[in-house]
Symmetry: C2
Subunit: 345 residues, 2 copies
DNA sequence: TTGTAAGCGTTATCAA
DNA sequence: TTGATAACGCTTACAA
């Protein structure tokens, strides 16, 4: 059992001042002689005193914590390169401010609203990150109703009272398609993510638009679900097409890697018979055979920026300064061996 | 802004009782007439009152939260199937008790002790999960010094004051090796994880022991780092051996999948020229080509059991009932196409 | 420049 | 069975 922690009263009496003075000294407020401040801080140091979060929380009605609710199936969540890096980025800024991260994972079917409600009503967090934004996302109304500050990862469609931190998926997709066009491909298909998600449609829209700009139409667009199983399914359907595509652009690496497996199982050689591109640059992308051409973003920086922005919002709550949206550098194309020049057959 | 929440005093005055009575009614303590209890609960309901976590925290010196510190590189963390499912399992029990999960990810190089210290000193959590146990793990001394309750995932080597929740990795590894032996393999190599980790050595020990029981020695053991890059490296070294192994057992799927890529790149056909087995049954294992023979555990159940056990410990702190260790059903072999009968060449 | 005292919303103690 | 009242440890008006 750890010995009882010193309280602010102990520090005060040791320094020969009042509790109020200690509080002022700690928080660097003006109105104290430098000498007393020093004396107080010294006393605090000797006693090894650190203010109690719980007492502070009660007193100032703050949690000193941020929340992240991830609404995904755990199975889908694993092998997703985004969140671990994102969280690490978030924490790099929380650590310096003594804040904690409260994590909640909800299965898609479950009542995710309940999760946010709990976080808000229990006063667990001072704000939340809104990830995996959906079209007409009900969460933004929910959160403004709950009065819980939030930051959206990318911009929602309608009006949003919350600042957005954005990493545009489209330039990466455009780059992939242009890369394939340069390699001579004309029959290009797309395996998209669930169209409920803003980032999924952003990618498929960019895909279609880039082809259109070249005067082409997609061979097919298979809407899938970002899982490996879904990637397999979609790939099989595409390969069964009367006019098989010569290249497939997947909305994420997991589907792409699964698709690669499906193509190989179907007896095709990648990239000779079929070019394949992913999205995310997950760890395995580099190491599967052949290495996967994909698109790389920087989720760590995304996390940093989101945390910084959310804290700005929280700190300034009440102030009328609206917090500015943040635009991060877009994802970049990473060319590997899974895409190749189209051989005339 | 959400309207001001009602406090216990509001409920008390509405029900015409004292605050103490409300507290008793809420916590179902004896000593109140049933009629008053009903009246109080009704009043609370009408006002929509829920007790404030912050006030409770201060009053009873509890955080109503559990902590998980993950000491891994974010890049390594992604594409690890364990933690998302484990966390989901943990939360399935936390949700019913109104507890929250505080997550911290630390890079291996960083001072992880500082992370636990912060959690303890800030009173953020009532207990923590100790994952990725290492040999002579310094964290168990640290935590008992901090007086922070903990549960270890698997059993540490030395004496530990903490209950352990165990999922034995060895039977799975034994099963893999026996499977390969049955297929006629005799030259089997192993790509192990960092030997600082208890689970990594458990797997390599089981590997060696099972071969030994069959009167065999490993062709080679490559100690790697659980990453895809490490898996590639190790595989290349094994394939360059004068007497190439006919089968390789990897300590996790990520290295195995990368190794599969490396073997294919080296012109080998899996499983004809080389059998490959992993460990984890990550999502992609089923869908790479050929499908990966691997070992499946149940991290969700692991999380549930760990959370239950940690809460038992916390609830009973002070009591002398020591909390019993929990033994979970071991991981099971999943046979796919990446392993095959050895063809005499 | 410093000290006093009143919150914050619970739980716990102890008379009545 | 009840109802005051005192913690819990901090912040913050307001006095001095």
């Amino acid at each position: 059992m750890a010995k009882d922690r010193p309280t602010i009263a102990d520090v005060a009496s040791r320094a020969g001042v009042s509790k109020g003075a200690v509080s002022f000294a700690l928080n660097g407020r003006p109105g104290l002689a430098q000498a007393t401040v020093d004396r107080i801080l010294a006393a605090a140091d000797e006693l090894g005193w650190r203010p109690s979060n719980r007492a502070r929380s009660l007193s100032v009605s703050k949690a000193f914590a941020l929340g992240l609710v991830i609404t995904r199936d755990p199975a889908v969540l694993s092998s997703d390169p985004f969140f671990p890096a994102f969280i690490a980025g978030v924490e790099s800024v929380l650590a310096t401010r003594g804040q904690a991260l409260v994590l909640q994972v909800a299965r898609p079917g479950e009542d995710e609203a309940a999760g946010y409600r709990r976080l808000a009503q229990d006063g667990r967090v001072d704000g939340v990150f809104l990830s995996d934004l959906r079209h007409d996302d009900p969460r933004i109304d929910l959160l403004s109703e709950l009065g819980l500050p939030a930051v959206t990862l990318n911009r929602p469609e309608g009006d949003s009272p919350f600042p957005a931190v954005c990493l545009d998926d489209r330039p990466g997709t455009v780059a992939v398609v242009e890369h394939l066009l340069e390699l001579g491909h004309r029959r290009i298909a797309h395996v998209a993510g669930p169209q409920a998600f803003v980032h999924a449609t952003a990618r498929s829209d960019a895909f279609v638009a880039t082809l259109a700009a070249a005067g082409l139409e997609p061979v097919a667009i298979e809407v899938s679900d970002f899982t490996a199983a879904g990637g397999i399914e979609a790939t099989r359907r595409l390969l069964a097409l009367p006019e098989r595509p010569t290249a497939i652009v997947y909305a994420n690496d997991r589907m792409a890697i699964a698709g690669l497996g499906a193509a190989q199982q179907a007896g095709l050689t990648v990239p000779d018979d079929l070019s394949i591109a992913g999205f995310d640059d997950s760890e395995l992308a580099e190491f599967v055979h052949p290495g996967l051409t994909t698109v790389r973003a920087d989720p760590y920086a995304f996390g940093e920026a989101a945390a910084l922005t959310l804290n700005q919002l929280i700190d300034g709550a009440g102030t009328d300064d609206t917090v500015a949206d943040v635009e991060l550098p877009p994802a970049r194309l990473v060319v590997r061996r899974s895409t190749a020049r189209l051989e005339e057959s």
